[in-house]
């Protein structure tokens, strides 16, 4: 399905419209903390994602004000990149590499079992709020394939069984 509809259909997306001065303050601080030679829409989005783990609706507006772009342009950039997400992630983010090496070494099986243990089908958030499953095209550790990462911590030479144990122990 297309983005236009998808974003309308994000559960709870409308909740984000609630203006929240604390949230906005945090966003403003996160944007202003940037120490890059050039501050852009993209760098501000990254700063926000670093701060919150996702990009709240208010951040689109705050970044527009800060960079002088229109909200629509900020959204255009934000919606272009897969790495940005617009709902609050669950407690832990589990990324499973499905690049060629990991694929050959058994990533499909890990994905299947990990999704099953999280109670989801493929990428997404588990209902209990514990885990978010994402696919990654390459985690950059092909020698140790198959690789998964839990909260940015890499685990190599995985098997489906070990991965499930790790997820369960979260």
């Amino acid at each position: 399905m297309l983005c236009f509809v998808k974003n309308f259909a994000i559960p709870g997306a409308r909740d984000l419209t609630v203006a929240n001065e604390d949230l906005r303050d945090r966003i403003r601080q996160a944007i202003k903390r940037q120490e890059r030679p050039t501050v852009t829409v993209l760098s501000s989005l990254l700063a926000t994602q670093d701060e919150f783990g996702y990009i709240p609706r208010e951040a689109i507006e705050e970044i527009a004000v800060y960079t002088g772009a229109s909200t629509n342009d900020v959204w255009g950039v934000a919606s272009f990149y897969k790495n940005f997400q617009f709902t609050e992630p669950n407690e832990h983010v589990i990324e499973i590499c499905w690049g060629p090496s990991c694929h050959i070494m058994g990533a499909p099986e890990i994905i299947e079992e990990a999704a099953e243990v999280l109670g989801i089908e493929g990428e997404g958030d588990s209902v209990d709020g514990k885990g978010t499953l994402r696919y990654n095209t390459c985690l950059g550790a092909c020698a140790r394939a198959p690789v998964i990462s839990i909260d940015h911590q890499l685990y190599g030479r995985m098997t489906a069984k070990k991965a499930v144990e790790k997820i369960k122990s979260l």
């Binding site: 983005c3 236009f4 509809v5 229109s70 909200t71 342009d73």
Partner: protein
């Protein structure tokens, strides 16, 4: 002259301007190359690849998108080889795989009706005949031109997206979008609004707004530019969505002073169904605003007056045109002299206005003639005295080349919308913008420096800027020494403008005044645009003079170059025309004063009459004169928002005091209710005429629809009454004949003929047939030197009496978007509405006196309205309450209102006296924070 390069296109050698692309060069040479994402006037984008051609160039033979290849020497271009055509068909196959294409390449598409049984199994929803842009679909035309085979190997992938039909005026069906990006680029490159953007990526990439929100929130000004450029049915106007145009007429929009050239599309039922900006129109270059794009629907309204009405006792009764005119003539004949007044509307053509003033002066022997928008007459005379002509010096699109701008108290993005387009374009390329205004408007968002002087101190502020320019020797010495009188007197007069004092009375800091002067001069010389909407009437003349001084000492009027000059921004569409036609109480046609003897002699001779020489009463004094009994009979041509919004006092009430009132209007209203005779009036779409816009360009309107009843144009109605009263000189057979008389009487129009106008607008001064257009006539070849006017330090305004009923001033601004403010879009009755809390900014000292704290809910009450909002103590000016509302809210009010002709209600935003009423203290939770 730009350099030309010879290239060969399909075996023919053609000349192309260096720097243009191959596609444009081919089109200029009359060779058609199909394209879908390119659009004249916008940068090349190279998205659709439909314009591929074979080019023998420096890199050998290549197949390239011609819109992105600049012409080069000795290029050989082949546009229609078999290979290229095959490639285009393949590209089109891909393009239409996400657009319903069952009909596109069907051989009987032109014969098919929506209900026909279809052998190709094209569902009714996917048929071209059910697409709102069927008759003007560029995609279909391109597919037909490519002579595509009946079937494509790719199946149609329906996106199944819901239609977006909740915003005003505008429908979007993204299932038809081919992502050419024209709308996004038009909104960005041309309009500078960025209300649309590309969203998402890859195969899912489409156009849209931030998080799919409503256009009301995304900063849309509803100009319709995206609809006009959309090559498919993805973006369409909602009104008359599926109606088919039978004829198109070239005309001029009469909703504001820009005079946009439009194409009026008329259907077979004699209805105006669409307005499309004319790409070749000099004032607008294809652009329109909401008033022109969506605001001309009133001409079709069923509530139009179609038959004359006459008062019998309490009621108005329908009657025949003859008896209504007989009655009006017989009655009006009793009120000849200064007891008669005529007020026309600025929406009338020059012909109407000329005959109106002639009727008033010759038939009724009264100089009391005016247009209802003429509430700021001070904008003009100083221009005439100091520079030669009471009109703008340069053209609208010259502004694109300006390096700096000074905009004084004008909400031009709403009132003269298209004028702001070249300004926004120039700002993108580094020009600087200064805005002097108490209100926050769209332009203040773009301003490099936004100065908010205390109301009534604008002249002092400009004087302060002049002083800085002279002190820092930023003036144009060469020009001043050669072409200007009164330099010493002027400079001496500036001694009074001590910056400390200026700072004190304007509340603008010295540094800012210096900065303003430097920005304006060092990037300039720049253009000065002034509306003086928030300036007190008594200060306006001095303010205009100080601005002209500023233009002269910076050499802005001397350069005659694009990007300089002075532009008065007045409200009425044909107010310039009214001035030229003498439809003002103080001037005869051609700008001669009513008491100027040589002029009177000439007009007496030409019109065979004896003209009154007392200056007449204008709209600003008329209410008072009616109430005091000095005016007994009136003729009103057209309605105006000014009649009831208080700017003319209690005008509607005063009309009751008249002994006789004739109204010629398009709709029944408060003014027709009290009239003795009501005559149905034609609109601009029903009569040929000429309009003069704010850059002195005389332009034609054409008869696009025929009258359905007895409605007629003002000049013909007035002529018939004049003949009945027994006065000669009103026997014009058609409007061209009236214009011929105008040509004879107004020297500036002498060389403008209908023949010339048919090819496009002509700027005055144009004294002879062979006069070519000139952009800046004010200083051209003039023997007289320009003169500077010494300016006086304005008397500091007395503080408003705190015990008066309305002790504060409200500065009400409007902007397109405020992303940092909380707002929500709610759906009510299938329409989006804006839900937002307004913030009323009060000066901290005022808040202290009134016992207000941040977060309190208050009402700001004026004589006519009441605005509720939450207090913030951020107003920079003591005694001024400021608030900024959204353009979208106003648009919704207008769109949902019941009035048939809503765009005249758009209204200016003057400063108004108000008082504050506290509704509730801040909620306890908020106070705890």
């Amino acid at each position: 002259m730009p350099e030309h390069i010879t290239i060969e296109i399909d075996g023919t050698k053609v000349q192309a301007e260096a720097g243009t692309n191959v596609l444009q060069a081919a089109m200029d040479a009359g060779v058609y190359v199909p394209y879908l994402c390119y659009y004249p006037g916008m940068k090349s984008f190279g998205a659709c690849r439909m314009c591929v051609v074979e080019i023998d160039g420096p890199r050998g033979t290549e197949t390239a998108a011609s819109c992105t290849v600049p012409v080069g020497p000795d290029m050989v271009v082949r546009t229609r080889t078999d290979d290229v055509q095959d490639l285009r068909r393949n590209i089109m196959d891909l393009l239409i795989s996400e657009h319903p294409h069952g009909c596109l390449n069907c051989h009987r598409v032109d014969l098919c009706g929506p209900q026909d049984i279809c052998l190709r199994h094209v569902g009714v929803n996917d048929r071209c005949v059910t697409c709102p842009k069927n008759e003007r679909c560029e995609l279909k035309d391109t597919v037909r031109w490519l002579e595509m085979e009946l079937d494509t190997e790719l199946t149609y992938n329906n996106r199944h997206l819901p239609q977006q039909v909740n915003d005003p005026f505008w429908d979007m069906d993204l299932n038809l979008c081919i992502v050419c990006g024209r709308c996004v680029r038009a909104c960005d490159e041309i309009r500078g609004d960025n209300a649309l953007a590309f969203v998402d990526r890859g195969g899912k990439g489409l156009i849209g707004t931030s998080i799919g929100t409503s256009l009301l929130e995304s900063g849309c000004e509803f100009c319709g530019a995206c609809i006009d450029v959309c090559p498919t049915g993805a973006l369409v106007e909602r009104d008359h969505k599926w109606d088919k145009a039978v004829t198109t007429y070239q005309s001029t929009c009469n909703n504001c002073a820009v005079g946009c050239q439009v194409k009026l599309e008329v259907d077979k039922r004699n209805q105006l169904i669409r307005t499309i900006g004319d790409l070749h129109g000099a004032p607008n270059q294809g652009q329109l605003c909401v008033k022109g794009k969506f605001g001309l629907e009133y001409v079709n309204d069923k509530r139009r007056l179609r038959t004359p009405l006459i008062r019998r006792g309490e009621d108005l009764e329908e009657t025949t045109l003859t008896s209504a005119l007989d009655f009006a003539a017989a009655e009006l004949a009793k009120y000849r002299g200064e007891g008669f007044a005529l007020i026309a509307s600025p929406r009338h053509a020059n012909e109407d206005l000329y005959i109106a003033q002639k009727f008033s002066r010759v038939v009724m022997e009264s100089n009391n003639v005016d247009v209802s928008s003429n509430l700021r007459p001070e904008l003009f005379p100083a221009l005439g005295e100091m520079l030669g002509y009471p009109a703008a010096t340069n053209t609208i699109w010259d502004l694109e080349l300006a390096k700096s701008f000074l905009v004084v108290s004008s909400n031009m993005t709403e009132e003269q919308n298209v004028t702001a387009i070249p300004i926004k374009k120039a700002l993108k390329t580094g020009a600087k913008l200064l805005v002097i205004d108490q209100r926050e408007t769209e332009l203040t968002r773009y301003a490099d420096l936004w100065l908010r002087p205390r109301p009534g101190t604008e002249t002092a502020l400009i004087g302060g800027m002049l002083r800085v320019i002279v002190d820092e020797s930023l003036d144009d010495h060469e020009f001043l020494s050669k072409g200007v009188n009164g330099v010493t007197d002027f400079k001496n007069s500036l001694w009074e403008f001590d910056l400390m004092q200026v700072e004190q009375i304007t509340s603008i800091s010295r540094e800012q005044i210096q900065q303003a002067a430097r920005i304006f001069v060092e990037n300039g010389p720049g253009a000065i645009l002034y509306g003086l909407e928030t300036v007190e009437p008594v200060d306006r003349d001095a303010c205009v003079r100080s601005l002209i001084d500023l233009a002269i000492i910076t050499g802005s009027v001397a350069k005659q170059a694009a990007g300089t000059g002075l532009y008065p921004l007045y409200a009425g569409a044909n107010e310039q025309g009214a001035r030229d036609m003498g439809c003002v109480p103080s001037h005869l046609p051609g700008h001669s004063l009513v008491n100027e003897e040589s002029a009177i002699d000439r007009f007496n001779r030409e019109w065979a009459t004896v003209l009154p020489s007392n200056p007449g009463v204008g709209v600003r004094e008329i209410t008072e004169k009616i109430t005091s009994g000095q005016i007994e009979a009136m003729f009103l041509l057209g309605n105006s928002e000014n009649f009831k919004n208080g700017t003319m006092g209690e005008f509607i009430d005063a009309l009751g005091d008249l002994k006789f009132l004739v109204v010629a209007d398009t709709f029944a209203s408060e003014i027709t209710e009290v009239a003795d005779v009501v005559l149905p009036a034609a609109t601009f779409a029903e009569e040929q005429g000429t309009f003069t816009n704010m850059e002195r360009r005389v332009q034609l309107t054409q008869r696009a629809i025929t009258a359905k009843g007895e409605e007629d144009s003002a000049w013909r109605i007035l002529g018939q009454i004049a003949r009945r009263i027994g006065v000669n000189g009103f026997d014009h057979p058609n409007s061209e004949d009236v214009f011929e008389e105008i040509r004879g009487m107004v020297a500036l129009y002498g060389g403008i003929t209908h023949e010339r106008l048919a090819k496009g607008g002509v700027q005055w001064p144009c004294p002879a047939i062979d006069t070519s257009e000139s952009s800046a006539p004010h200083t051209e070849g003039s023997q007289d030197k320009l003169s500077l006017t010494p300016i006086e330090f304005p008397e500091p305004q007395g503080e408003i009496d705190p015990s008066s009923e309305y002790p504060l001033t409200l500065a009400h601004g409007r902007v397109l978007r405020e992303p940092d403010r909380k707002m929500e879009i709610d759906l009510v009755d299938k329409r989006n509405i804006i839900v937002r809390e307004e913030i009323l900014e009060v000066h901290p000292e005022d808040a202290l006196v009134l016992g207000l704290s941040v977060g309190d809910v208050i009402d700001v009450v004026s004589e006519r309205e009441r605005i509720r909002g939450v207090v913030d103590t951020t107003s920079p000016l003591k005694g001024v309450v400021s608030t900024t509302t959204l353009f979208g809210s106003r648009l919704l009010d207008i769109n949902q209102g019941a009035t048939p002709d809503p765009m005249i209600e758009f209204g200016a935003l003057p400063l108004i006296p108000v008082r504050i009423e506290k509704v509730a203290a801040q909620p306890i939770e908020a106070a705890a924070d």
